[in-house]
């Protein structure tokens, strides 16, 4: 009995070992195939082709970027968190309610591989302590979107709210290229001057004094942009993995549907 068991154990181990080797080979082959697919067109030209990068550009000036740098120890370069609206109003002037300011937002592919990009725009109001004021209307922050240039707004009602809009650039953004503008102007609706909480009229000696409290007095409007980029190879799977959205991509690489 003992002899029989001793003979079966090595066979079982060898069998399992072979199955494991087979699984490893299948996995490795799959991975190798994926790697070959990724590099098939440009592999022979430049080694740096695997560097992904993205830059947010406001009125022609880069405000935030994050680029992979394989040439330098594989680290990321750039300033991930930038500032918007800094140069909107000339020095010494006040922000003028009702005036249209240039606010052209674009995305540049600052990497060395092609990519898809999406932008999430948030608009909201903060009090003087930086606390968000959800009761104030983000719709009065009139950031004008220009989707005609190839941007597709997410059709999912859960993605779009009065505070948040999500846009996908439907074309492949080639390395070194810039998207069409997503926005072109910014205006604070002059209606905010009519949002009055309280008006009191009082007599102070000989004088009549009117005190008016405005809902938006002392508040700060905020625009926030979050840009995401993902590789174009295995596009549908990559986008699903990175952004959680199912897309259909045509033969030219254009995103034709989104759900």
């Amino acid at each position: 009995m003992k002899k029989t068991n001793t003979q079966k154990s090595p066979a079982l181990i060898i069998g399992l070992f072979l199955i494991a080797i087979l699984l490893l080979l299948v996995g490795t082959v799959g991975y190798a195939r994926a790697a070959l697919t990724i590099r098939s067109e440009e592999y022979s030209s430049r080694v740096e082709m695997k560097d992904i990068g993205v830059t947010l550009v406001e009125n022609g000036t880069a405000v935030a970027s994050r680029d992979y740098a394989s040439a330098q120890d594989g680290s990321w370069t750039g300033n991930v968190e930038g500032t918007l609206c800094a140069g909107l109003v000339p020095e010494g002037e006040d922000f003028e309610i009702g005036r249209k300011y240039d606010e052209v937002l674009t995305v540049r592919n600052s990497g060395t591989i092609n990519e898809y990009v999406r932008v999430q725009i948030f608009r909201y109001w903060e009090d003087k302590n930086g606390k968000k004021q959800p009761e104030l209307d983000p719709g009065l922050i009139d950031l004008h979107f220009t989707t005609a240039g190839g941007w597709l707004e997410d059709p999912d009602n859960n993605s779009t709210t009065s505070e948040r809009n999500v846009f996908y650039y439907t074309s492949i953004l080639p390395a070194g290229e810039e998207t069409a503008p997503l926005t072109d102007t910014l205006k604070i609706n002059e209606m905010i001057a009519t949002k009055v909480t309280e008006t009191t009229v009082s007599k102070e000696g000989k004088y009549t004094v009117i005190h008016t409290t405005y809902d938006y007095d002392g508040t700060r409007f905020v625009i926030e942009a979050k840009v995401d980029a993902v590789q174009t190879h295995n596009a549908a799977d990559a986008i699903l993995s990175a952004w959680g959205r199912h897309v259909t991509v045509d033969g030219s690489g254009n995103i034709t549907s989104l759900r």
Binding site: L16, G82, L84, C85, G98, I192, Y207, T208, T213, S241
Partner: protein, 192 residues
């Protein structure tokens, strides 16, 4: 035998770990990156304006100042007196008379800015009045926050006056100590 079974289990576990590692590696093989930026401006809608008056030689010189941290405002002002003492106005080209009797200041007054003086002259003042005879000159000024067209051109919307500095600015008594002499008065207007 137990030792062999333990070894085989260990081997199987190691191989399974290797297989899993390879699979996880391929699931995270997508290249992605991201950036974000935000910014904005604080809006000041409230206003506090103040008037400064200088009275000399039967002339009242009125200047209106916008306080620090106030929004830019447009200003208009006028004065009232009895028909016995008609008023005439004089000022630079920035003050222009309107059909409603107000004088309108053409430029929006920024925070900490002031208008040029609007001078109101009281006429027909007798050289020698009866003791106890008095007259009132009432100056009214109003302000409204500047609004802007999309081009950036400022305009005044007088249908939404928010700051009303209506006041009895002068009560002068003939024979009193301030008749025709220098007199300065500061008045705070409305505050939003």
């Amino acid at each position: 035998m137990r030792k062999n079974i333990r070894k085989s289990h260990l081997l199987i576990a190691l191989l399974a770990l290797l297989v899993l590692t390879v699979s996880i590696g391929s699931a995270y093989a997508y290249f992605t990156t991201y950036v974000e930026a935000k910014g904005g401006y604080t809006l000041n809608l409230g206003t506090v304006t103040r008037t400064s008056e200088e009275f000399k030689n039967w002339k009242k010189s009125v200047t209106i100042t916008n306080d620090k941290d106030s929004a830019p405002v447009f200003i208009r002002a006028r004065a009232y007196s009895g028909s016995k003492y008609p008023l005439t106005y004089s000022a630079d080209e920035k003050w222009t008379p309107g059909a409603d009797g107000f004088y309108y200041y053409s430029d929006p007054v920024p925070a900490e800015g002031s208008t040029t003086p609007l001078v109101v002259t009281i006429n027909n003042v007798p050289e020698k009045a009866e003791p106890g005879e008095e007259f009132n000159v009432v100056v009214i000024y109003e302000s409204t926050p500047a609004k802007y067209e999309e081009s950036g051109k400022a305009y005044a919307d007088w249908s939404s006056i928010q700051d009303n500095g209506k006041m009895d600015s002068v009560t002068s008594e003939f024979g009193g100590t301030d008749s025709g002499e220098a007199d300065t008065e500061d008045t705070e207007g409305g505050d939003a």
